[in-house]
Symmetry: C2
Protein backbone atom coordinates (compact mmCIF):
# COMPACT_ATOMS: atom_id res chain seq x y z
CA UNK A 1 0.00 0.00 0.00
CA UNK A 2 1.46 3.32 -1.07
CA UNK A 3 1.45 6.09 1.44
CA UNK A 4 0.21 9.58 0.82
CA UNK A 5 2.75 12.04 -0.52
CA UNK A 6 4.30 14.47 1.92
CA UNK A 7 5.05 17.97 0.63
CA UNK A 8 8.72 18.88 1.13
CA UNK A 9 8.78 22.29 -0.56
CA UNK A 10 6.71 24.57 -2.75
CA UNK A 11 7.73 27.67 -4.71
CA UNK A 12 6.07 29.89 -7.30
CA UNK A 13 7.52 29.67 -10.82
CA UNK A 14 6.16 31.16 -14.06
CA UNK A 15 2.76 31.67 -12.46
CA UNK A 16 2.51 28.03 -11.32
CA UNK A 17 4.07 26.10 -8.46
CA UNK A 18 7.07 23.80 -8.33
CA UNK A 19 6.51 21.24 -5.55
CA UNK A 20 8.71 18.50 -4.19
CA UNK A 21 7.11 15.47 -2.53
CA UNK A 22 8.22 12.27 -0.84
CA UNK A 23 6.22 9.09 -0.30
CA UNK A 24 6.77 5.53 0.90
CA UNK A 25 6.76 3.47 -2.28
CA UNK A 26 5.00 0.11 -2.27
CA UNK A 27 7.08 -0.88 -5.30
CA UNK A 28 10.59 0.06 -4.20
CA UNK A 29 9.93 -0.40 -0.46
CA UNK A 30 11.85 2.86 0.12
CA UNK A 31 10.92 6.51 0.40
CA UNK A 32 10.82 8.01 -3.10
CA UNK A 33 11.10 11.70 -3.92
CA UNK A 34 9.59 13.44 -6.94
CA UNK A 35 9.09 16.99 -8.18
CA UNK A 36 6.05 18.41 -9.94
CA UNK A 37 5.45 21.65 -11.79
CA UNK A 38 1.78 22.61 -11.76
CA UNK A 39 0.78 25.48 -14.06
CA UNK A 40 -1.55 28.09 -12.67
CA UNK A 41 -4.64 26.63 -14.24
CA UNK A 42 -7.26 26.81 -16.86
CA UNK A 43 -5.65 28.60 -19.79
CA UNK A 44 -7.81 26.71 -22.25
CA UNK A 45 -10.73 28.68 -20.92
CA UNK A 46 -13.13 25.76 -21.15
CA UNK A 47 -13.78 25.61 -17.42
CA UNK A 48 -12.00 22.30 -17.14
CA UNK A 49 -9.10 22.67 -14.76
CA UNK A 50 -7.73 19.21 -15.44
CA UNK A 51 -4.30 19.23 -17.08
CA UNK A 52 -2.34 16.48 -18.83
CA UNK A 53 0.85 15.12 -17.31
CA UNK A 54 4.24 14.97 -18.99
CA UNK A 55 6.75 12.70 -17.23
CA UNK A 56 10.48 13.42 -17.45
CA UNK A 57 12.98 10.64 -16.74
CA UNK A 58 16.50 11.75 -15.84
CA UNK A 59 19.86 10.28 -16.72
CA UNK A 60 22.62 8.58 -14.76
CA UNK A 61 23.53 10.14 -11.38
CA UNK A 62 20.48 12.45 -11.39
CA UNK A 63 17.72 12.94 -8.85
CA UNK A 64 14.40 14.69 -9.45
CA UNK A 65 16.18 18.03 -9.05
CA UNK A 66 18.56 18.16 -12.02
CA UNK A 67 15.68 18.68 -14.42
CA UNK A 68 13.72 21.10 -12.28
CA UNK A 69 16.79 23.23 -11.50
CA UNK A 70 18.56 23.25 -14.85
CA UNK A 71 16.28 22.52 -17.82
CA UNK A 72 14.20 25.71 -17.88
CA UNK A 73 11.14 23.61 -18.73
CA UNK A 74 8.50 25.25 -16.54
CA UNK A 75 8.04 28.29 -18.78
CA UNK A 76 6.99 26.00 -21.63
CA UNK A 77 4.77 23.81 -19.45
CA UNK A 78 3.10 26.97 -18.12
CA UNK A 79 2.49 28.18 -21.66
CA UNK A 80 0.88 24.89 -22.71
CA UNK A 81 -0.86 24.14 -19.40
CA UNK A 82 0.89 20.82 -18.89
CA UNK A 83 1.89 19.31 -15.54
CA UNK A 84 5.53 18.16 -15.41
CA UNK A 85 6.51 15.23 -13.16
CA UNK A 86 10.18 14.40 -12.51
CA UNK A 87 10.78 11.22 -10.47
CA UNK A 88 14.06 10.05 -9.00
CA UNK A 89 16.23 7.59 -10.94
CA UNK A 90 16.44 4.77 -8.38
CA UNK A 91 15.59 3.77 -4.84
CA UNK A 92 17.69 5.63 -2.27
CA UNK A 93 19.03 4.22 0.96
CA UNK A 94 20.67 6.73 3.25
CA UNK A 95 21.42 3.98 5.76
CA UNK A 96 22.44 0.37 5.19
CA UNK A 97 22.92 0.38 1.39
CA UNK A 98 22.99 -2.86 -0.59
CA UNK A 99 26.48 -4.24 -1.22
CA UNK A 100 27.81 -2.32 -4.24
CA UNK A 101 24.82 0.00 -4.42
CA UNK A 102 26.85 3.21 -4.22
CA UNK A 103 30.08 2.05 -5.87
CA UNK A 104 29.56 3.17 -9.48
CA UNK A 105 27.89 6.09 -11.24
CA UNK A 106 26.34 3.80 -13.85
CA UNK A 107 24.90 1.03 -11.69
CA UNK A 108 22.86 0.94 -8.47
CA UNK A 109 21.94 4.18 -6.77
CA UNK A 110 21.11 6.85 -9.35
CA UNK A 111 21.16 4.29 -12.16
CA UNK A 112 17.94 2.26 -11.97
CA UNK A 113 17.57 2.19 -15.78
CA UNK A 114 13.75 2.14 -15.47
CA UNK A 115 13.61 -1.65 -15.47
CA UNK A 116 12.37 -4.32 -13.04
CA UNK A 117 15.43 -6.17 -11.73
CA UNK A 118 15.22 -9.95 -11.50
CA UNK A 119 18.63 -10.57 -9.92
CA UNK A 120 19.51 -10.48 -6.23
CA UNK A 121 19.95 -8.20 -4.35
CA UNK A 122 18.48 -5.66 -6.77
CA UNK A 123 15.09 -7.33 -7.22
CA UNK A 124 14.41 -7.47 -3.48
CA UNK A 125 16.15 -4.14 -3.04
CA UNK A 126 13.47 -2.19 -4.86
CA UNK A 127 15.10 -1.80 -8.27
CA UNK A 128 11.72 -1.98 -9.99
CA UNK A 129 11.64 1.44 -11.63
CA UNK A 130 9.54 0.19 -14.56
CA UNK A 131 6.68 -0.67 -12.22
CA UNK A 132 7.31 2.45 -10.19
CA UNK A 133 7.06 4.85 -13.17
CA UNK A 134 4.27 3.13 -15.07
CA UNK A 135 2.13 1.64 -12.30
CA UNK A 136 2.61 3.43 -9.00
CA UNK A 137 3.67 7.02 -9.68
CA UNK A 138 0.64 8.16 -11.75
CA UNK A 139 -1.74 7.32 -8.91
CA UNK A 140 0.58 8.90 -6.34
CA UNK A 141 0.70 12.12 -8.36
CA UNK A 142 -3.05 12.18 -8.95
CA UNK A 143 -3.66 11.73 -5.24
CA UNK A 144 -1.13 14.44 -4.31
CA UNK A 145 -2.48 17.05 -6.75
CA UNK A 146 -6.14 16.01 -6.85
CA UNK A 147 -8.27 14.50 -9.60
CA UNK A 148 -9.69 17.95 -10.28
CA UNK A 149 -6.19 19.00 -11.43
CA UNK A 150 -4.77 15.86 -13.05
CA UNK A 151 -6.26 14.43 -16.23
CA UNK A 152 -5.34 10.75 -15.88
CA UNK A 153 -6.23 10.04 -19.51
CA UNK A 154 -3.72 12.44 -21.06
CA UNK A 155 -0.12 11.46 -20.42
CA UNK A 156 3.17 11.69 -22.32
CA UNK A 157 6.77 10.95 -21.46
CA UNK A 158 10.25 12.19 -22.26
CA UNK A 159 13.73 11.88 -20.83
CA UNK A 160 17.49 12.26 -21.20
CA UNK A 161 20.19 9.65 -21.82
CA UNK A 162 19.31 6.73 -19.47
CA UNK A 163 15.99 8.52 -19.05
CA UNK A 164 15.61 8.83 -22.82
CA UNK A 165 15.96 5.05 -22.94
CA UNK A 166 13.39 4.93 -20.14
CA UNK A 167 10.93 7.17 -21.96
CA UNK A 168 11.18 5.18 -25.19
CA UNK A 169 10.76 1.84 -23.45
CA UNK A 170 7.91 3.00 -21.20
CA UNK A 171 6.03 4.21 -24.27
CA UNK A 172 6.81 1.18 -26.43
CA UNK A 173 6.10 -1.40 -23.70
CA UNK A 174 2.77 0.21 -22.76
CA UNK A 175 0.95 0.86 -26.04
CA UNK A 176 -1.62 3.62 -25.78
CA UNK A 177 -0.61 4.65 -22.26
CA UNK A 178 1.38 7.67 -23.46
CA UNK A 179 0.09 9.99 -26.16
CA UNK A 180 3.60 10.86 -27.32
CA UNK A 181 7.26 10.23 -26.50
CA UNK A 182 10.46 12.22 -26.94
CA UNK A 183 14.07 11.93 -25.87
CA UNK A 184 17.28 13.90 -25.52
CA UNK A 185 20.36 11.87 -26.37
CA UNK A 186 18.70 8.55 -25.49
CA UNK A 187 20.53 5.29 -24.97
CA UNK A 188 18.69 3.91 -27.96
CA UNK A 189 19.95 0.35 -28.28
CA UNK A 190 21.24 -0.61 -24.83
CA UNK A 191 21.94 -4.29 -25.58
CA UNK A 192 24.63 -2.99 -27.96
CA UNK A 193 26.41 -0.45 -25.69
CA UNK A 194 28.58 -0.66 -22.55
CA UNK A 195 26.13 1.16 -20.24
CA UNK A 196 23.23 -1.08 -21.25
CA UNK A 197 25.20 -4.31 -21.10
CA UNK A 198 26.42 -3.53 -17.58
CA UNK A 199 22.91 -2.67 -16.40
CA UNK A 200 21.22 -5.69 -17.96
CA UNK A 201 23.90 -8.12 -16.75
CA UNK A 202 23.63 -6.76 -13.24
CA UNK A 203 19.89 -6.29 -12.91
CA UNK A 204 18.63 -9.04 -15.25
CA UNK A 205 21.46 -11.58 -15.31
CA UNK A 206 22.41 -11.16 -18.98
CA UNK A 207 22.55 -8.70 -21.83
CA UNK A 208 20.12 -10.88 -23.78
CA UNK A 209 17.52 -10.55 -21.05
CA UNK A 210 17.60 -6.81 -21.69
CA UNK A 211 16.00 -7.20 -25.13
CA UNK A 212 12.59 -6.61 -23.58
CA UNK A 213 13.85 -3.21 -22.41
CA UNK A 214 15.74 -2.30 -25.57
CA UNK A 215 13.99 0.47 -27.54
CA UNK A 216 15.43 -0.66 -30.85
CA UNK A 217 14.24 -4.23 -30.31
CA UNK A 218 10.86 -3.04 -29.08
CA UNK A 219 10.42 -0.75 -32.10
CA UNK A 220 10.74 -3.73 -34.44
CA UNK A 221 7.71 -5.49 -32.96
CA UNK A 222 5.61 -2.60 -31.59
CA UNK A 223 1.96 -3.22 -32.53
CA UNK A 224 0.10 -0.53 -30.56
CA UNK A 225 -1.51 2.71 -31.68
CA UNK A 226 0.42 4.88 -34.12
CA UNK A 227 2.89 7.00 -32.15
CA UNK A 228 5.02 10.09 -32.88
CA UNK A 229 8.53 10.23 -31.40
CA UNK A 230 10.91 13.22 -31.34
CA UNK A 231 14.62 12.76 -30.60
CA UNK A 232 17.56 15.17 -30.40
CA UNK A 233 21.22 14.23 -30.14
CA UNK A 234 24.22 16.57 -30.05
CA UNK A 235 27.05 16.09 -32.50
CA UNK A 236 29.57 17.07 -29.78
CA UNK A 237 28.15 14.56 -27.28
CA UNK A 238 31.09 12.41 -26.17
CA UNK A 239 28.75 9.55 -25.29
CA UNK A 240 27.34 9.63 -28.82
CA UNK A 241 30.79 9.46 -30.37
CA UNK A 242 31.72 6.66 -27.93
CA UNK A 243 28.80 4.53 -29.16
CA UNK A 244 26.70 4.62 -25.98
CA UNK A 245 23.63 6.17 -27.66
CA UNK A 246 23.27 4.63 -31.15
CA UNK A 247 20.20 6.65 -32.22
CA UNK A 248 20.67 5.49 -35.83
CA UNK A 249 19.81 1.93 -34.81
CA UNK A 250 16.52 3.05 -33.30
CA UNK A 251 15.63 5.19 -36.30
CA UNK A 252 16.29 2.25 -38.62
CA UNK A 253 14.00 0.02 -36.56
CA UNK A 254 11.25 2.67 -36.58
CA UNK A 255 11.58 3.07 -40.32
CA UNK A 256 10.64 -0.60 -40.59
CA UNK A 257 7.49 -0.17 -38.50
CA UNK A 258 4.77 1.97 -40.02
CA UNK A 259 3.17 2.52 -36.59
CA UNK A 260 6.15 4.59 -35.40
CA UNK A 261 6.93 8.04 -36.84
CA UNK A 262 10.29 9.20 -35.52
CA UNK A 263 11.93 12.56 -36.09
CA UNK A 264 15.57 12.23 -35.04
CA UNK A 265 17.58 15.45 -35.21
CA UNK A 266 21.36 15.82 -35.00
CA UNK A 267 22.11 19.14 -33.28
CA UNK A 268 25.43 20.51 -34.46
CA UNK A 269 27.94 21.26 -31.71
CA UNK A 270 25.79 20.40 -28.69
CA UNK A 271 27.04 18.10 -25.92
CA UNK A 272 25.31 15.78 -23.41
CA UNK A 273 24.62 18.41 -20.73
CA UNK A 274 21.62 20.39 -19.57
CA UNK A 275 22.83 23.21 -21.81
CA UNK A 276 21.74 20.99 -24.69
CA UNK A 277 18.49 20.00 -22.99
CA UNK A 278 17.51 23.55 -22.08
CA UNK A 279 18.07 24.71 -25.66
CA UNK A 280 15.58 22.22 -27.08
CA UNK A 281 13.18 21.56 -24.19
CA UNK A 282 10.77 24.13 -25.61
CA UNK A 283 10.58 22.17 -28.87
CA UNK A 284 9.91 18.96 -26.96
CA UNK A 285 7.19 20.35 -24.74
CA UNK A 286 5.60 22.00 -27.78
CA UNK A 287 5.65 18.60 -29.51
CA UNK A 288 3.95 16.92 -26.56
CA UNK A 289 1.43 19.76 -26.30
CA UNK A 290 0.31 19.03 -29.86
CA UNK A 291 -0.56 15.48 -28.75
CA UNK A 292 -1.87 16.24 -25.26
CA UNK A 293 -3.94 19.36 -25.87
CA UNK A 294 -5.83 18.46 -29.01
CA UNK B 1 49.49 42.17 -12.98
CA UNK B 2 46.47 40.08 -13.90
CA UNK B 3 47.13 36.81 -15.61
CA UNK B 4 45.42 35.60 -18.73
CA UNK B 5 42.19 33.67 -18.25
CA UNK B 6 42.35 29.91 -18.51
CA UNK B 7 39.35 28.17 -20.07
CA UNK B 8 37.91 25.52 -17.73
CA UNK B 9 34.91 24.42 -19.79
CA UNK B 10 32.86 25.34 -22.84
CA UNK B 11 29.43 24.11 -23.94
CA UNK B 12 26.95 25.13 -26.62
CA UNK B 13 23.74 26.73 -25.36
CA UNK B 14 20.98 28.45 -27.35
CA UNK B 15 23.28 28.80 -30.33
CA UNK B 16 26.01 30.49 -28.28
CA UNK B 17 28.63 29.18 -25.88
CA UNK B 18 28.72 29.09 -22.09
CA UNK B 19 32.34 29.24 -20.96
CA UNK B 20 33.92 29.04 -17.52
CA UNK B 21 37.29 30.68 -16.91
CA UNK B 22 39.74 31.10 -14.06
CA UNK B 23 42.46 33.70 -13.69
CA UNK B 24 44.92 34.92 -11.07
CA UNK B 25 43.42 38.14 -9.80
CA UNK B 26 45.71 41.09 -9.13
CA UNK B 27 43.02 42.57 -6.87
CA UNK B 28 42.10 39.60 -4.67
CA UNK B 29 45.52 37.90 -4.92
CA UNK B 30 43.68 34.60 -5.40
CA UNK B 31 42.48 32.58 -8.38
CA UNK B 32 39.03 33.87 -9.40
CA UNK B 33 36.51 31.94 -11.46
CA UNK B 34 33.86 33.46 -13.73
CA UNK B 35 31.36 32.25 -16.30
CA UNK B 36 30.44 33.92 -19.58
CA UNK B 37 27.64 33.32 -22.05
CA UNK B 38 28.60 34.49 -25.53
CA UNK B 39 25.77 34.62 -28.10
CA UNK B 40 26.50 33.24 -31.53
CA UNK B 41 27.19 36.57 -33.10
CA UNK B 42 26.07 39.36 -35.28
CA UNK B 43 22.28 39.31 -35.15
CA UNK B 44 22.11 43.03 -35.72
CA UNK B 45 23.35 42.36 -39.21
CA UNK B 46 25.51 45.48 -39.33
CA UNK B 47 28.75 43.59 -39.70
CA UNK B 48 29.86 44.60 -36.23
CA UNK B 49 30.41 41.50 -34.15
CA UNK B 50 30.98 43.44 -30.94
CA UNK B 51 28.36 42.81 -28.28
CA UNK B 52 27.56 44.66 -25.05
CA UNK B 53 28.20 43.01 -21.67
CA UNK B 54 25.65 42.51 -18.91
CA UNK B 55 27.20 41.64 -15.53
CA UNK B 56 25.24 39.52 -13.04
CA UNK B 57 26.19 39.60 -9.36
CA UNK B 58 25.02 36.64 -7.27
CA UNK B 59 23.75 36.47 -3.72
CA UNK B 60 25.08 34.99 -0.49
CA UNK B 61 26.64 31.49 -0.72
CA UNK B 62 26.68 31.55 -4.53
CA UNK B 63 29.50 31.01 -7.01
CA UNK B 64 29.44 31.90 -10.71
CA UNK B 65 27.46 28.71 -11.38
CA UNK B 66 24.15 29.32 -9.57
CA UNK B 67 23.10 31.86 -12.17
CA UNK B 68 24.37 29.98 -15.19
CA UNK B 69 22.78 26.70 -14.09
CA UNK B 70 19.46 27.88 -12.71
CA UNK B 71 18.34 31.26 -14.08
CA UNK B 72 17.55 30.33 -17.67
CA UNK B 73 19.05 33.62 -18.80
CA UNK B 74 20.99 32.53 -21.87
CA UNK B 75 17.93 32.24 -24.12
CA UNK B 76 17.20 35.93 -23.55
CA UNK B 77 20.82 37.03 -23.94
CA UNK B 78 20.98 35.05 -27.19
CA UNK B 79 17.83 36.77 -28.44
CA UNK B 80 19.21 40.24 -27.69
CA UNK B 81 22.84 39.50 -28.59
CA UNK B 82 24.18 40.42 -25.16
CA UNK B 83 27.18 38.82 -23.43
CA UNK B 84 26.44 37.70 -19.85
CA UNK B 85 29.25 37.66 -17.27
CA UNK B 86 28.78 36.01 -13.86
CA UNK B 87 31.69 36.44 -11.43
CA UNK B 88 32.17 34.67 -8.11
CA UNK B 89 31.00 36.36 -4.89
CA UNK B 90 34.30 36.43 -2.98
CA UNK B 91 37.89 35.29 -3.04
CA UNK B 92 38.23 31.53 -2.52
CA UNK B 93 40.93 29.77 -0.58
CA UNK B 94 40.90 26.02 -0.84
CA UNK B 95 43.94 25.80 1.45
CA UNK B 96 44.84 27.91 4.46
CA UNK B 97 41.65 30.01 4.86
CA UNK B 98 41.63 33.20 6.88
CA UNK B 99 40.47 32.76 10.48
CA UNK B 100 36.67 32.79 10.35
CA UNK B 101 36.53 32.90 6.56
CA UNK B 102 34.37 29.79 6.20
CA UNK B 103 32.39 29.97 9.43
CA UNK B 104 29.20 31.74 8.34
CA UNK B 105 27.03 31.80 5.21
CA UNK B 106 26.68 35.59 5.39
CA UNK B 107 30.28 36.69 5.97
CA UNK B 108 33.64 35.75 4.44
CA UNK B 109 33.74 33.12 1.72
CA UNK B 110 30.73 33.46 -0.61
CA UNK B 111 29.75 36.76 1.01
CA UNK B 112 32.09 39.45 -0.25
CA UNK B 113 29.29 42.03 -0.53
CA UNK B 114 31.02 43.72 -3.51
CA UNK B 115 32.89 46.16 -1.28
CA UNK B 116 36.56 46.89 -0.61
CA UNK B 117 37.32 45.78 2.94
CA UNK B 118 39.41 48.08 5.13
CA UNK B 119 39.67 45.84 8.19
CA UNK B 120 42.19 43.09 8.85
CA UNK B 121 42.40 40.29 7.80
CA UNK B 122 39.83 40.93 5.06
CA UNK B 123 41.56 43.89 3.42
CA UNK B 124 44.85 42.01 2.99
CA UNK B 125 42.91 38.81 2.28
CA UNK B 126 41.57 40.02 -1.04
CA UNK B 127 38.08 41.09 0.00
CA UNK B 128 38.09 43.89 -2.54
CA UNK B 129 35.18 42.81 -4.72
CA UNK B 130 34.27 46.40 -5.63
CA UNK B 131 37.62 46.89 -7.35
CA UNK B 132 37.47 43.39 -8.77
CA UNK B 133 34.07 43.86 -10.44
CA UNK B 134 34.46 47.45 -11.59
CA UNK B 135 38.18 47.71 -12.33
CA UNK B 136 39.72 44.33 -13.06
CA UNK B 137 37.06 42.01 -14.44
CA UNK B 138 36.03 44.03 -17.54
CA UNK B 139 39.58 43.96 -18.88
CA UNK B 140 39.95 40.28 -18.03
CA UNK B 141 36.76 39.45 -19.93
CA UNK B 142 37.70 41.60 -22.92
CA UNK B 143 41.06 39.88 -23.10
CA UNK B 144 39.53 36.40 -22.80
CA UNK B 145 36.86 36.94 -25.46
CA UNK B 146 38.68 39.40 -27.67
CA UNK B 147 38.06 43.07 -28.45
CA UNK B 148 36.39 42.03 -31.71
CA UNK B 149 33.65 40.40 -29.60
CA UNK B 150 33.35 42.66 -26.55
CA UNK B 151 32.10 46.22 -26.85
CA UNK B 152 33.80 47.85 -23.87
CA UNK B 153 31.63 50.95 -24.16
CA UNK B 154 28.27 49.22 -23.64
CA UNK B 155 27.89 47.68 -20.20
CA UNK B 156 25.02 47.12 -17.77
CA UNK B 157 24.68 45.31 -14.45
CA UNK B 158 22.13 43.34 -12.47
CA UNK B 159 22.08 40.96 -9.54
CA UNK B 160 20.17 39.15 -6.81
CA UNK B 161 19.93 39.84 -3.08
CA UNK B 162 23.52 40.64 -1.96
CA UNK B 163 24.24 40.88 -5.70
CA UNK B 164 21.26 43.18 -6.18
CA UNK B 165 22.89 45.43 -3.58
CA UNK B 166 26.11 45.04 -5.53
CA UNK B 167 24.52 45.95 -8.85
CA UNK B 168 22.85 49.06 -7.43
CA UNK B 169 26.01 50.26 -5.70
CA UNK B 170 28.30 49.54 -8.65
CA UNK B 171 26.00 51.58 -10.90
CA UNK B 172 25.48 54.43 -8.42
CA UNK B 173 29.15 54.69 -7.37
CA UNK B 174 30.39 54.72 -10.99
CA UNK B 175 28.18 57.23 -12.83
CA UNK B 176 28.02 56.58 -16.57
CA UNK B 177 29.91 53.31 -16.40
CA UNK B 178 26.75 51.19 -16.69
CA UNK B 179 23.99 52.04 -19.16
CA UNK B 180 21.32 50.51 -16.92
CA UNK B 181 20.87 48.63 -13.65
CA UNK B 182 18.35 46.11 -12.35
CA UNK B 183 17.96 43.87 -9.32
CA UNK B 184 16.05 40.87 -8.00
CA UNK B 185 15.18 41.18 -4.32
CA UNK B 186 18.13 43.51 -3.59
CA UNK B 187 19.43 44.33 -0.13
CA UNK B 188 18.43 47.94 -0.74
CA UNK B 189 19.39 49.72 2.44
CA UNK B 190 22.11 47.57 4.05
CA UNK B 191 23.03 49.98 6.86
CA UNK B 192 19.50 49.32 8.18
CA UNK B 193 19.37 45.49 8.04
CA UNK B 194 21.14 42.64 9.87
CA UNK B 195 23.00 41.27 6.84
CA UNK B 196 24.39 44.68 5.93
CA UNK B 197 25.32 45.65 9.46
CA UNK B 198 27.25 42.40 9.95
CA UNK B 199 29.11 42.85 6.67
CA UNK B 200 29.98 46.51 7.20
CA UNK B 201 31.08 45.98 10.81
CA UNK B 202 33.29 43.09 9.76
CA UNK B 203 34.74 44.41 6.52
CA UNK B 204 34.71 48.17 7.22
CA UNK B 205 34.81 48.42 11.02
CA UNK B 206 31.36 49.97 11.52
CA UNK B 207 27.86 50.12 10.09
CA UNK B 208 28.32 53.84 9.53
CA UNK B 209 31.31 53.24 7.28
CA UNK B 210 28.94 51.25 5.03
CA UNK B 211 27.04 54.37 3.98
CA UNK B 212 29.29 54.73 0.94
CA UNK B 213 28.08 51.27 -0.16
CA UNK B 214 24.42 51.73 0.75
CA UNK B 215 22.20 52.06 -2.33
CA UNK B 216 19.59 54.12 -0.51
CA UNK B 217 22.20 56.57 0.78
CA UNK B 218 23.88 56.71 -2.64
CA UNK B 219 20.55 57.38 -4.40
CA UNK B 220 20.04 60.50 -2.32
CA UNK B 221 23.21 62.15 -3.62
CA UNK B 222 23.68 60.53 -7.06
CA UNK B 223 24.64 63.25 -9.55
CA UNK B 224 25.60 61.27 -12.66
CA UNK B 225 23.76 60.75 -15.94
CA UNK B 226 20.05 59.96 -15.78
CA UNK B 227 19.64 56.22 -15.13
CA UNK B 228 16.76 53.71 -15.34
CA UNK B 229 16.53 51.03 -12.66
CA UNK B 230 14.23 47.97 -12.62
CA UNK B 231 13.61 46.02 -9.40
CA UNK B 232 11.48 42.96 -8.58
CA UNK B 233 10.76 41.61 -5.12
CA UNK B 234 8.54 38.65 -4.20
CA UNK B 235 5.77 39.09 -1.67
CA UNK B 236 6.48 35.59 -0.28
CA UNK B 237 10.20 36.30 0.15
CA UNK B 238 11.02 35.54 3.79
CA UNK B 239 13.97 37.90 3.71
CA UNK B 240 11.69 40.70 2.54
CA UNK B 241 9.24 40.10 5.37
CA UNK B 242 12.18 39.89 7.83
CA UNK B 243 13.34 43.36 6.83
CA UNK B 244 16.59 42.38 5.13
CA UNK B 245 15.69 43.94 1.75
CA UNK B 246 13.82 47.22 2.41
CA UNK B 247 13.16 48.11 -1.25
CA UNK B 248 10.71 50.83 -0.18
CA UNK B 249 13.55 52.83 1.33
CA UNK B 250 15.45 52.79 -1.94
CA UNK B 251 12.40 53.75 -3.98
CA UNK B 252 11.75 56.68 -1.63
CA UNK B 253 15.32 57.90 -2.08
CA UNK B 254 15.07 57.59 -5.88
CA UNK B 255 11.80 59.49 -5.87
CA UNK B 256 13.74 62.39 -4.34
CA UNK B 257 16.37 62.36 -7.10
CA UNK B 258 15.18 63.30 -10.56
CA UNK B 259 18.22 61.60 -12.16
CA UNK B 260 17.01 58.15 -11.09
CA UNK B 261 13.92 56.51 -12.60
CA UNK B 262 13.11 53.35 -10.66
CA UNK B 263 10.40 50.82 -11.43
CA UNK B 264 10.01 48.62 -8.36
CA UNK B 265 7.54 45.74 -8.75
CA UNK B 266 6.11 43.54 -6.00
CA UNK B 267 5.56 40.06 -7.44
CA UNK B 268 2.71 38.32 -5.68
CA UNK B 269 3.57 34.94 -4.16
CA UNK B 270 7.17 34.67 -5.31
CA UNK B 271 9.99 33.79 -2.91
CA UNK B 272 13.75 34.53 -2.83
CA UNK B 273 14.85 31.57 -4.98
CA UNK B 274 15.95 31.08 -8.55
CA UNK B 275 12.36 30.12 -9.35
CA UNK B 276 11.59 33.80 -8.85
CA UNK B 277 14.64 34.94 -10.81
CA UNK B 278 14.02 32.64 -13.75
CA UNK B 279 10.43 33.85 -14.03
CA UNK B 280 11.46 37.48 -14.47
CA UNK B 281 14.96 37.27 -15.93
CA UNK B 282 13.52 37.72 -19.42
CA UNK B 283 11.98 41.02 -18.37
CA UNK B 284 15.29 42.18 -16.93
CA UNK B 285 17.40 41.26 -19.93
CA UNK B 286 14.82 42.88 -22.20
CA UNK B 287 15.07 46.03 -20.06
CA UNK B 288 18.86 46.09 -20.37
CA UNK B 289 18.66 45.37 -24.11
CA UNK B 290 16.64 48.57 -24.56
CA UNK B 291 19.55 50.50 -23.06
CA UNK B 292 22.43 48.52 -24.54
CA UNK B 293 21.23 47.95 -28.08
CA UNK B 294 19.96 51.36 -29.04
Amino acid sequence: MSSTSKLLSSSKLFGGMIKQFTHESAVTKTPMRYSVFVPSGDVLGNGNGQMPVLYYLSGLTCTDENFTHKAGAAQHAAKHNIILVAPDTSPRRTEDPLVGEDDAYDFGSGAGFYINATESPWAEGGYRMDDYINQELPDIVAEALGSNVVDAERRSIFGHSMGGHGALTCALRNPGKYQSCSAFAPISNPTQCPWGKKAFEGYLGSTEAGAEYDATELAKTYAGPSMDILMDTGSADDFYTQGQLLPENFVKACNGNKLLQVESRMQEGYDHSYNFISTFVGDHIGFHAQHLNR
